[in-house]
């Protein structure tokens, strides 16, 4: 590995220019040298064409020079393209590298840093702010070198043609160099004012709008108009000034540069008339002079890009200029394997402003001992747990894990030896399994080979699901999954057998919870489409998502008198849903009962407006299809925002038998109609077992249902298979498809799976019901005692009896410590706390 580089926030923008880009930049330099030559060559040819070929009337020479001219123009264009491509490559590579390094740096910063940092700022820094610096890095070699070289080459060439004339025409540039920065400063000044005033203006608008009832109440329109008007006028003046200076840079630059030819005509024409300058040289001079303009312009643009890039880079890096408190990975040794011996001596944690959150804490835990930390809220229990777990750095004293100072350990050492479950654990987007493996993967990665024991088997995973009580939840996710006709055909027969046994054993008891598929009844917990088809399509164009655009199906709806009523239903559904959910963020909790998915919301907002403005037949064809499609998803048992007309219910029931008859004649193979002896691939496993759908969303009822199914699955030896499918359930962003309790159980499970020597649980079971909490406590007592050291911050005092030690904290100090019985007999603070609870 290369020697450690300084952290990204300590590096200047210039270090990015070469570094890993050196090779590319060198190629660029070579290409530039050739390009400059290829740019100057045509000028010389131009001169020779006039002076030699035309004057001597030599066609061969003419063709030769023109040929060279053409080749060099082609070469110059081609090379310029290559250079641009390389430049873009360098800038994009740099951008990606800056992003990765800055991201890695930011997430390694201590927790305290994030208390004062808005996530939005991190997002904008990583997403948009770095683009300007990277753009500059891409240009940094190519643009100044090629343009300066071109300028110099042309200038030298001009001097070579005629020194006086050259000096005269170049004399313009110093004026521009002096003038442009001067004007630019004015532009910057005006720009700054513009930003400020725009901000004031938007504040003003916000204030007026949020106080609009007061404005109406007082009829204070004129006052508000005046306030707004004066700022708008100020903005107008500033914008004028800004635009004026911007325009004047452009104009004066253009003006001075186009003065060039004028000077050349005057002096050059005079010299030519006098015979002291050849006509060819004059033409070449004019061309060269004109060509000075482009590189000049690019240099000025480069100057601006440099300013923008540099300022943004410094600002961004300065913001994140903090240091991680611990090394992430030990550079020169494998991570340590420590036993669970914890020795805390005189530990203190004092905040930056001198508040003593922990003071003089000492205790010792032998490997495998369990300690409960109790005390009033704010007494420092969590802080102590976090200091031992290296989440916060203690400021004084010692915390030894396996006789090594925790402060000196790297993050990797901690990950190998400690599992931490926080009060508000975070679950990441991905499957249940991804989250279950999160801690193991984190401890085992980096390819050092030594982490291989963090590769749990399926049995291990299922075991921790049991231990933490999330097994049934996972099973339920599995039951709610759909099987793939190609992949899972082996399962299908068994599931149909489960269905038959289910009917026999539970058909009657669960009839209240389940709406069985019945050809002669409307299914209120199924969609309109399911009610109409009452089967699964075998053809792509008859899949539910495509139905609303299928001409055959639309013609059928027309025939069944369903098209307009359904479109009307769709319109009503769109209006209602948009009305309620229109301004909410795309979170699962808001959209789980909505027929419209979050990413369709904007489209349906527009549609809802359209239906208020126009009659249904006036809508565009694709808009009508959208409404029809929405209506086909409607399931009255789930979508409670509109009522379901009884007439429509009857029409759909009639449509169901009409459709079956018609489609069996026209496309006999297109559908598999629901049949108790067949597996239905368009329905979930659970619906297949029921041959129906659940009516209830209550978790209690669902638990009853699942409990009845478990036995049947065990009989068919399907339990683990279905749990395996359940582990593939996508938990959604931040795990928002899970309940708070499920998230907490999953967070405990992922740490249990790692089986660390030290387990720290910071009120880890606070969101769990009594049974789940007891189950986990039981596991700690029976299975982990003597194997893993446990420090548990405990809020509920009824679960601490079986801990080896109980530590009572108050105001940052440990005031009592000992066995439960001992402390109770002592009738001290713990005794008082428990009595107080009773």
């Amino acid at each position: 590995m290369a020697k450690p580089r300084p952290p990204i926030v300590k590096r200047s923008i210039y270090t990015w220019i070469m570094g890993r880009n050196t090779k590319l930049q060198l190629i660029v330099l070579v290409l530039i040298a050739v390009t400059v030559f290829a740019r100057v060559l045509p000028l010389e040819m131009q001169k020779r064409i006039i002076n030699e070929a035309i004057r001597l009337s030599d066609v061969d020479l003419l063709i030769l020079y023109c040929g060279i001219y053409l080749v060099s123009v082609l070469a110059a264009s081609g090379l310029k393209y290559l250079i641009t491509v390389l430049q873009v490559m360098i800038s994009q590579r740099t951008l990606t590298r800056m992003r990765k390094e800055l991201f890695a740096h930011i997430i390694s910063l201590p927790l305290g840093y994030f208390r004062n940092t808005q996530p939005g700022l991190v997002v904008s820094s990583l997403v948009s702010e770095l683009a300007l610096p990277a753009n500059f890095v891409g240009m940094a070699v190519a643009v100044p070198v090629i343009n300066l070289l071109t300028l110099v080459a042309f200038a030298v060439y001009l001097f070579f043609l005629n020194a006086w004339l050259a000096a005269l025409s170049l004399s313009i540039y110093p004026i521009v160099v002096f003038l442009v920065p001067l004007l630019q400063r004015k532009v910057n000044q005006a720009n700054k004012e513009r930003v400020d005033v725009t901000r004031t203006l938007s504040d003003r608008i916000q204030e007026t709008i949020s106080g609009i009832h007061e404005v109406h109440g007082n009829a204070a329109y004129a006052i508000e108009n005046d306030k707004f008007g004066s700022i708008a006028d100020r903005l107008y003046r500033i914008r004028l000034r800004w635009d004026f200076f911007r325009a004047s840079i452009k104009v004066s630059n253009n003006f001075f540069v186009s003065l060039g030819p004028f000077l050349i005509f005057i002096l050059g024409g005079y010299l030519t008339i006098q015979g002291r300058l050849e006509l060819g040289a004059l033409v070449a001079f004019l061309s060269a002079q004109e060509k000075l303009y482009d590189p000049w312009k690019e240099l000025i643009e480069f100057y601006q890009a440099y300013q923008d890039g540099n300022v943004t880079y410094d600002k961004t890096m300065r913001y994140f200029d903090s240091e991680p408190e611990h090394q992430l990975v030990p550079p020169d040794r494998p991570p340590l394997q420590l036993d669970g011996h914890v020795d805390v001596q005189n530990l203190a944690f004092i905040t930056g402003d001198g508040i003593r959150l922990l003071d003089g804490i000492s205790f010792e835990l032998k490997p495998g001992q369990h300690m409960a930390l109790v005390g009033f809220s704010g007494s420092g229990k969590s802080t102590l747990a976090q200091c031992v777990g290296q989440l916060y750095n203690y400021t004084d004293g010692h915390a030894l894990l396996g006789n090594v100072e925790v402060r000196e350990l790297t993050k990797k050492d901690m990950a190998w030896n400690m599992g931490f479950v926080s009060q508000a654990p975070f679950i990441f987007d991905g499957t249940i399994e991804d989250n279950l493996l999160y801690s193991c993967r984190a401890a085992g990665n980096e390819g050092d080979g030594a982490g291989d024991h963090y590769q749990p088997s399926l049995e291990d995973k299922i075991q921790v699901l049991h231990q933490t009580g999330i097994f049934v939840d996972t099973l339920r996710f599995g039951l709610n999954a759909m099987l793939d006709a190609d992949r899972d055909s082996a399962l299908v027969e068994q599931l149909v057998r489960v269905r038959q046994n289910f009917r026999k054993q539970f058909g009657e008891t669960l009839a209240n919870y389940v709406e069985f598929f019945d050809e002669n009844r409307y299914l209120f917990h199924s969609s309109v489409a399911e009610n109409l088809l009452f089967g699964t399509s075998r053809r792509r164009d008859f899949k539910t998502a495509a139905l609303a655009e299928n001409p055959y199906f639309i013609a059928f709806l027309e025939k069944a008198d369903l098209k307009r009523p359904l479109m009307e239903l769709g319109a009503e559904l769109a209006r209602r849903t948009v009305d309620i959910l229109g301004n909410l963020p795309p979170e699962e909790v808001f959209f789980e009962q909505s027929p419209i998915a979050p990413d369709e919301l904007d489209e349906f907002k527009h549609l809802a407006r359209q239906t208020r403005r126009l009659r249904l037949h006036e809508l565009a064809a694709d808009e009508r299809h959208k409404l029809l499609g929405l209506a086909l998803r409607f399931s009255p048992g789930r979508h409670k925002t509109i009522s379901f007309p009884e007439l429509l219910e009857r029409l759909i029931l009639e449509g169901r038998s009409l459709f079956k008859k018609q489609v069996t004649e026209d496309y006999p193979d297109a559908f598999a109609f629901y049949d108790e002896g067949e597996y239905i691939f368009s329905q979930t496993i659970q619906n297949n077992i029921f041959f129906g759908k659940t009516k209830t969303t209550s978790t209690k009822a669902q638990d009853n249902i699942v409990q009845s199914i478990i036995q049947l699955l065990i009989e068919e030896d399907l339990l683990e298979t279905i749990v395996g499918i359940g582990m593939q359930f996508q938990v959604g962003s931040k795990g928002d498809k899970l309940s708070g309790g499920q998230r907490q159980k999953l967070a405990i499970a992922r740490v249990f799976l790692k089986s660390p020597h030290l387990l720290i649980m910071d009120e880890a079971t606070s969101a769990l019901d009594n049974n789940s909490q007891a189950r986990i406590q039981n596991f700690l007592d029976r299975r982990l005692k003597g194997k893993a050291t446990v420090i548990a911050v405990v809020h509920r005092l009824d679960i601490i009896k079986n801990f080896d030690k109980v530590a009572v904290m108050k105001a940052g100090k440990l005031i009592e410590m000992g066995g439960y019985e001992q402390l109770m007999a002592q009738k001290g603070v713990l005794y008082g706390l428990i009595q107080g609870k009773k």
């Binding site: 209120f524 309620i580 909790v589 808001f590 009522s643 379901f644 708070g740 606070s766 019901d769």
Partner: protein, 175 residues
Amino acid sequence: MDSFKEKNSAGSTCEFQQNLEILRQIEFFAGLPIETLKIFAYLCARETFASGEHLYSADDDDGQAFYIINGQLELAYDIEGREQTIRSYAPGEFLGGLSLLAPLRRLFALKATQDTECLVLSREKFAKAIEQFPELVPRIFKSVADSIRDWDQQRLFAISEKGLSLEGSVGISAI
């Protein structure tokens, strides 16, 4: 049992609108704008509980609030195995608002003494929705503080009317 059919023949108001009407009359939600109530009405679920079924038990943190549509609920406390009734709730009553605001372990148990239908709102949904309207949080706090004060005042009047000693019985609003 197709409850949708019954509702449809009874009238054309959908469950959402009925929920909205109910929420508008609940003190706890008083003062919240209709736009917010719409979201709560949308997030509410109707659940039925069989007679004798527990809605929650002591020490649970179920995080739910209930509005009784029909049926009857009873709050009970277990003293050494003997269940003592604290009070009962009739249709139209709302309970559990406090546990919407923060994790809260139940002191009592709540069970249905008849087959009961409730409108149920969970803390998780309530919290997600109120996150969208942070400016409303002070109003919710006020409504809770008001109801504690009102309750204390009612007890104060009731007890002093009976001429009993006030000591230890009132003063909860002084917390």
